[in-house]
Each structure stands twice: as C-alpha cells, then as structure tokens.
C-alpha cells in the first residue's frame, strides 16, 4: 500500500506562508498532478512528501506510516528533480546504481538492475558516459532511471520536463504515462503546464497562493472549476464584468460590459441579488462564429437575439486576426470591450480586420463568478 495522505500540511518561512493547510489523499497507484503557477507552493508540497522540507504543521502519511518526522533517506519515495541533479563525478551507470548502493545491494545485483533501468529508458548505450555530456532529454531519462532503480513506493516528479523543448516534452509525457501504467506505483507530478497536467494526470490538484484549491479529474476541474482563478489558469477565456439585472425562476439576466443583457439558465439554487457584480467566463470553444447577418437591425453592433431563452448572440467588428498554427484567433470589438474567438484553420469562412462577425453561444455554457472569485452555482 502506498496511499499518501496529507493532512493540514503547512510550511512557513518566517512570516511567509508557502503552503497552507493542504489536505488530500492520493490513492495507491494514482498519478496526481499538482498544477499551479510558480510560487504557488506545489514544489514545497512535493518536497514535504519527499522529506526534503519539513512541514511547520500537519502530517504526511505514506501507506500505513506517519512519515512526517522521517528524513528523506528513510522514506520509500524517490524524486526526479527539475534540473535532474545527476552526480557529475559518477558515470551514468553509477548514478543509476547509487540508490541501490546506499541499500547495500551487492555489486553484481545493482549493476544488473541499473542496466535494466537504463534499458527501460533507452539509455543503455550511455551507461559509461559522464552525465554532464548528455543532452537534456537524456539526463531526464537517466534521472528517471535512477529514481526508479530503488523501486520506490512513490515517485515524485518536480517539473522534470520543464527544461525540455516542446516536442521532447510531449514525447516524455507519453512515456511517463506508459511507465506509470506499467509500474502501478503512486506518482505525484508537479507542473505549471496545464497541457502536461491534462496529458498525464488521473487527477489534478490545483494550487494557488499555497493552498490546494481544487482536486479532481482533468475533465471535472476544467468543466467545473471551483473559482475564477482556476477558470483563468486552465486555458484561455474571456472574462466579462457584469451586474445582475433581474432574476426569474429559470434564468438570471446579467447586464454585461458588452452593452447588452446576457441570459444564463438557472435553477435558482444560488441566491443572487439584483445589482450584484459578477464575472462571466466565455471560453472560446463555446462561442460559435459566423458572418454577420445583413444589417437589417437598427444597430447591428449591439443586436441581440434571445430566442428559446438561453441562446445569446452578439455582433462585433474584427479588430485583428492572429494566426496560431492550427487555429486563428480573432479579437472582436464589441462596445468598449473586446472578446476573442477562435476558428480552426480547416473551417471555412475567414475574417479580416474590419469585418463584422456574429458570435453565438448557449447561456448554459457560461460560468459566473462572484466578486470574491467564488463560483456561482447557477
């Protein structure tokens, strides 16, 4: 059993709170990604699991044992560091065999096991090389082999891919995923890259300002973020300021900075007062775009069609188009504000700056957040 339970974990440096009240249970064999911007406390949390940093409060349990007071060398965890931390005066093979030597494994056995690990990460031919002469990707593989060689219950990965170029990083993500599936060990992976977290994780734990804000499977945290920070951190979105204009039994009508009302379906679970300030999130993937209808309305710039209750539509002017490879991103001016929308390159109908564009979305796809950042349960 190598379930990890963190409860009330806290790390304080003087007056500064690096990690605050982190509690989570990481299941046996799970791959949990700790995702957050730099300085969010994710690496510190990982280091407390490894025993490299001692918490100022709270406990760490691995399997059946409370290991809070145990030093790193006495824990069944192994860490892959961001800069890989390979021993420069030892060969690749000696690096991989190091942990086994510390366990007093016999020379033959540890050589054999180290070679086996190097084989697994396809680095066998570099066994006698000096690690300082390896490329970043190769160092990363050696570091992984070195950590796996001691057969740890828990593998901790501290942004090990962040120093690799994009292509290599994506290959290694797939490889890590495969290794995880093979070994059926508990992995905790720290990253600031949401794509990496989505690729790898069974569950994602999002950290901000030292707190673990939300833990859930990738789908859940993306579709159902707990607060505005997470919505903004996971991918790009349009945040619009608005105010509750009126509420009905099945909808909330919000007056937005786009100069028009927006209808959000609601079952009225969460009481909203008229006049309350909200932030609405419109992800580009919920916005469908099309050519502006013939200008038959009095004012096409702000025309709204609210048919069937929750479909919203707005017309604006394309300010600029940014080619982003597989997609084109348009910045659209509406009133005094602007919204960005995306179109995949394969889709027909390109727009140029100055064109009118019609944006349509379902009010049910819009997320609303209160002023303090908490999500409104519509």
């Amino acid at each position: 059993m190598s379930e990890i339970e963190l409860s009330g974990l806290e790390k304080r440096y003087g007056d500064e709170l690096a990690v605050e009240d982190v509690s989570v249970t990481i299941e046996d064999g799970e791959l949990l990604c700790l995702l957050g911007p730099s300085g969010s406390g994710k690496s510190t949390t990982l280091r407390m699991i490894a025993g490299l940093t001692s918490p100022t409060d709270g406990t760490v349990r691995i399997g059946e044992d409370d290991v809070t007071e145990r030093p790193a060398y006495d824990r069944t965890t192994a860490t892959v560091f961001q800069d890989w931390a390979l021993f420069p005066h030892k060969t690749v093979l000696e690096n991989v065999a190091f942990g086994l030597r510390m366990q007093s494994t016999s020379t033959d056995e540890r050589r054999e096991r180290a070679r086996e690990m190097l084989d697994r990460v396809e680095m066998a031919e570099h066994a006698d090389d000096n690690p300082t002469n390896l490329s970043g990707g190769q160092k990363q593989r050696v570091a992984l082999a070195r950590s796996l060689a001691v057969n740890p219950d828990v593998l901790l990965l501290d942004e090990p891919l962040s120093n690799l170029d994009k292509r290599l990083r994506e290959d290694m993500q797939i490889e890590l995923r495969e290794i995880h599936e093979d070994l059926e060990k508990t992995f905790v992976h720290v990253t600031h890259d949401q794509d990496e977290a989505f690729t790898l994780a069974d569950r994602i734990g999002i950290m901000a300002d030292g707190e673990l804000v939300q833990v859930g499977d990738p789908h859940e945290v993306y579709e159902n973020p707990k607060n505005r920070f997470i919505e903004g951190f996971l991918g790009d979105t349009n945040f619009l300021a608005g105010e509750v204009a009126r509420t009905t039994a099945e909808s909330v009508v919000v007056e937005t900075e786009l100069g028009q009302e927006m209808i959000l379906p609601s079952d009225g679970d969460d009481a909203l007062a008229v006049g309350e300030s909200l932030t609405l999130s419109l992800r580009p993937e919920v916005l469908t775009i099309g050519e502006s209808p013939v200008a038959n309305d009095a004012d096409p710039e702000t025309a709204t069609v609210a048919d069937g209750g929750t479909t919203n539509e707005i017309v604006g002017t394309v300010e600029n188009a940014i080619y982003r490879g597989s997609t084109v991103r348009y910045s659209v001016a509406i009133e005094n504000s602007s919204v960005f929308v995306e179109r995949t390159v394969a889709d027909s109908g390109a727009f140029d700056a100055g064109d009118d564009i019609r944006i349509r979305w379902n009010g049910a796809d819009v997320l609303a957040f209160r002023e303090d950042g908490t999500r409104v349960d519509l």
């Binding site: 790193a72 060398y73 192994a78 560091f81 420069p88 942990g99």
Partner: protein, 307 residues
C-alpha cells in the same frame, strides 16, 4: 573630467590592443604572458640557478660563505648522510603532514558550514575566516605563547576549574608548533574549499539523501568528490607552507625545522653550500610528496580542472 580620462584610457587601451589583435593567436598569448615570464625569470629562476650553483660549491674559508668557482658534492653528501639534517627534514615533514591533515579536515567542515549557512551567519563565518589575515603572521602566532604556555591562560583556566593538576606542555612543543601553523594556513584552506563548494548545487546532496544516503554518507559521496579540486588546492597550499614553516615552530615549537636551519646556516654559520643543498633536497622531496598527494586525492574526486 571623468569622461575625458575615460576617453584617454580607452584610447590608450585601443592603441595597445590593436597591434595585439593583429598577431596570430599563439604570439598574442606569448605577448600577454611576457610580463609574468620576465618576472618569474628574474625573481625565481635566476636566484634558483644561483642557489643551485652554490650548493655544488666547496665550503668557504673562514669568514666566507662559500668558495667561489669551485665544484663539490660534499654539501649533498653531508645533508643526506649526517644525522642532524635528516632529523630536521623528518621534523619539517611531520609538522607539514599533521598541520595539513588538520587544516584540510577543519577547513572542509568550516567551508561546508559557510556553504550551508545563509544571511548574517554566512557573512559572520566568512568574515571570521578573513579576519586573521588582516593581522601580521608574527603577531598572531606570538599571541599563542601567553595563551598556551605552561603558565598561560589555558592552563591556569583548566587548573582553576580543577581539570588539570600539572600544566599541559603545549608551548613550546610540537603541539604548539602545529596549532600555530594550522592557524596560519586554515583561512587559505577554508577559502580554497569554499570557493569550489559555492558553485555546487545543494540539490545533488538532496538527491543523494532522497536515494537513501544518510547525512554523513551524502556528504562523503557527493560533497567531498565535488569539493576535491578545492581540497587539493587546500592540501598543496597547507603542505608546502607548513613544511617550510618558520614562524610557528620558531615561536611555539621546541625543535628546528628546515627553514630555521637554513636561516641559521646562511646568516649565522656561513655554511651556504650545506644550506642550499638542504633547500634543493627539500624542494625535490616536497615535489615528490605533493605529486603523490594530488595523485591520491584525484582518485577520490571528479577531474581536477587545472584551468
């Protein structure tokens, strides 16, 4: 004003630099080295050749240091066969080896402490190392006499506490000479090792601990090999200085080191051939011992970059 002088300075540099750049690479290197080469030739090589020449001269008549223009191997025979020079050599090497071992061991621990400390503690530790360098060697060595002599501060303190009934004979003695010599070379040992440790990544130690190395083991496995270039420099400095030590054994010791004997033979006894022969033998012996030490130490650590 300052702009003007800057302009002249950079103009001067340019005037000097341009013809230098025009030279081929090897010639440029030679030109850049020239001042040092000339300095070494004048200050080291030429006197050493004179010293070599004197060492193979006959002893002088009464009142002269050596017989000019004569050739003789008597001085070397004397150094290698008679009792006293051999004792002097053994004594010098004893001080050298013990002082070096202590200075390097303590230096490593101290450098490690500086490396691990931060903020005020780090500055304090570093400052404490540099501070003794600001006092002249003779004064700080002499200060050990009232401190360590049989009637000195340490002994009276220990006696008053009741830990001692008869005073410790530290000064004058071998122990006193070694204490004084370690105190002289320790700052250099610390700084040599610390300069290497400062560039080392603490994460390497963490990686070792993470893989199951205990604290002492992780230092032995990771820090020592990484610090080896600094340890080698510290060893060479401490050893060369301590074998040739003069002030500490003179003020705190009770036996004659090679430096003291050479001084006596040259200034008092007027035996220049024996004094210079002893010096040449010592230089050769030290070169052999230092090469052996470096060879042994290099085995334990990463490659030494002689850059």
């Amino acid at each position: 004003m300052s702009g003007n002088s800057n302009a002249t300075a950079s103009g001067a540099i340019e005037r000097l630099w341009k013809p230098l750049v025009a030279r081929s690479r090897s010639k440029r290197a030679l030109l850049l080295m020239a001042p040092l080469v000339i300095f070494e030739l004048l200050i080291f090589v030429a006197p050493f050749l004179i010293l070599l020449r004197i060492s193979v001269s006959e002893a002088g008549e009464r009142g002269t240091a050596y017989a000019e223009g004569t050739w003789s191997a008597d001085a070397y025979a004397n150094v290698l066969t008679s009792e006293v020079p051999r004792e002097v050599i053994v004594h010098s090497f004893t001080i050298g080896l013990i002082a070096t071992a202590i200075a390097v061991a303590v230096g490593l621990l101290y450098a490690y402490a500086i490396w691990r400390a931060d903020g005020f503690t780090k500055s304090l530790l570093l400052f404490s190392v540099v501070l003794p360098l600001l006092t002249t060697l003779v004064v700080k060595t002499y200060a050990f006499r009232p401190l360590l002599s049989p009637t000195g501060t340490l002994n009276s303190l220990l006696e008053s506490v009741g830990l001692l009934s008869t005073p410790l004979e530290i000064v004058p003695g071998l122990a006193g000479a070694i204490v004084g010599q370690v105190y002289i070379v320790l700052p250099y040992a610390v700084l040599a090792i610390y300069s290497v440790l400062a560039t080392m990544d603490w994460q390497l130690v963490e990686a070792a601990r993470d893989l199951g190395a205990s604290r002492p083991r992780s230092v032995l496995e990771v820090v020592v090999p990484q610090a080896m270039p600094g340890i080698i420099v510290a060893t060479v400095i401490s050893f060369a200085w301590s074998v040739g030590s003069y002030a500490a054994p003179f003020l705190l010791g009770d036996d004659v080191t090679f430096a003291m004997r050479v001084e006596g033979q040259i200034l008092r006894d007027f035996q220049w051939p024996t004094a210079t022969a002893l010096s040449v033998v010592m230089i050769a012996a030290m070169l052999v011992v230092i090469s052996a030490l470096v060879a042994v130490l290099s085995r334990f650590g990463g490659e030494v970059e002689y850059a």
